[in-house]
């Protein structure tokens, strides 16, 4: 197996693993945050607007780790620098 094949093989496999593992943590975290926010809103419906806004901002913060993983896997597939190096040779 020459090195170009090896690089493409590893890139594709690792990009899949990246998004798979990287989405587990944010999914669990967002689920917890949502559950907490729902119970808080059930207890204090008057504060629903405030809680919703904070929830959205917090979810975006949590989600950004998953987005980083997504960006990394997209880079590995579509804009891989090592792959380009071998294609240029």
């Amino acid at each position: 197996m020459d090195s170009a094949t090896l690089v493409s093989l590893v890139s594709i496999a690792v990009s899949g693993i990246t998004i798979a593992i990287g989405s587990i943590g944010p999914a669990l975290g967002e689920g917890r945050a949502l559950a907490q926010a729902l119970s808080a809103m059930a207890q204090q419906p008057d504060e629903a607007q405030q809680i919703t806004r904070t929830l959205f901002v917090g979810l975006a913060m949590v989600e950004s780790t998953a987005i980083y993983c997504f960006v990394v896997s997209i880079i590995l597939i579509f804009a891989n620098p090592f792959w380009r190096y071998f294609l240029a040779q």
């Binding site: 405030q50 959205f56 901002v57 975006a60 989600e63 987005i67 997504f70 997209i74 579509f78």
Partner: protein, 236 residues
């Protein structure tokens, strides 16, 4: 399938490149400015007003209200900056469902530029509010040991701001493009509606986070605390 509108080049002359990001940024800007100019040409005081004026007043009023709630300060100072960010991002995200329109926010260059604007706005508003030395003292609070962490935090949140918006919008357009290849009939429409929702939420989040960062750099909380303490001291 294009990942970023940067790669769609319309015109090139040496190092000067006019790509889709630039062109559609100009389109979005022209839309925003044009509609605002047309509407504000015939403004009327009081309750008798045209549809456009009503819509714009609702938009500005909502922005002002949201900024006041997030920052707990007078919104007038931040309205132009935060409002511009929000309107530009929300318009370019929502117009992304139109075929042939590349959202400028789907390119890392645009979002990085917006995030850098926020990065510089935080010290500008902070220094305007408290003065240079008082603002710089923020970095060595609570102890000077925290100095490197504060600086790293400042940089990494700028990066996060840029990559978050870019990743969300890019993934939306990418999913639409992939789905058109796989199930061309009905399903991409549903995902497009979903990506409108994502676009509006991301624009909201971007501007709220920018406001939170700016508010954390300005003296609002500190000043009110001092005022409250002064009042308490004044009481017999």
């Amino acid at each position: 399938m294009t990942i970023t509108p940067d790669s769609v080049v319309y015109w090139q002359w040496g190092p000067v490149v006019i790509n889709a990001t630039l062109v559609f940024t100009w389109v979005t800007m022209a839309l925003l400015v044009g509609v605002s100019v047309v509407v504000t040409r015939k403004l009327t005081p009081g309750f008798e007003m045209g549809r456009g004026q009503n819509a714009l007043e609702a938009v500005v009023g909502t922005l002002r209200e949201q900024i006041r709630e997030v920052s707990r300060q007078d919104p007038e100072r931040f309205l132009s900056f935060i409002g511009t960010l929000f309107l530009f991002i929300v318009l370019s995200n929502v117009l992304g469902v139109i075929p042939g329109y590349h959202s400028p926010t789907g390119s890392l260059t645009t979002t990085a530029a917006l995030a850098v604007c926020v990065f510089f706005a935080v010290p500008l508003f902070g220094i305007q509010d408290k003065g240079l030395s008082a603002y710089l003292k923020n970095y060595i609070k609570p102890t000077p040991i925290m100095l490197p962490f504060n600086i790293i935090g400042e940089l990494s949140r700028t990066l996060a701001l840029a990559v978050r918006l870019f990743g969300n919008i890019m993934s939306g357009s990418l999913i639409a493009a992939i789905l058109i290849g796989v199930v061309p009939l009905f399903f991409p429409v549903v995902m497009n509606v979903f990506s409108i929702l994502i676009g509006v939420i991301q624009a909201y989040i971007f501007s709220v986070l920018a406001m939170v960062y700016i508010a954390s750099g300005t003296a609002a909380t500190g000043r009110t605390d001092e005022k409250a303490q002064d009042e308490r001291k004044g009481e017999p």
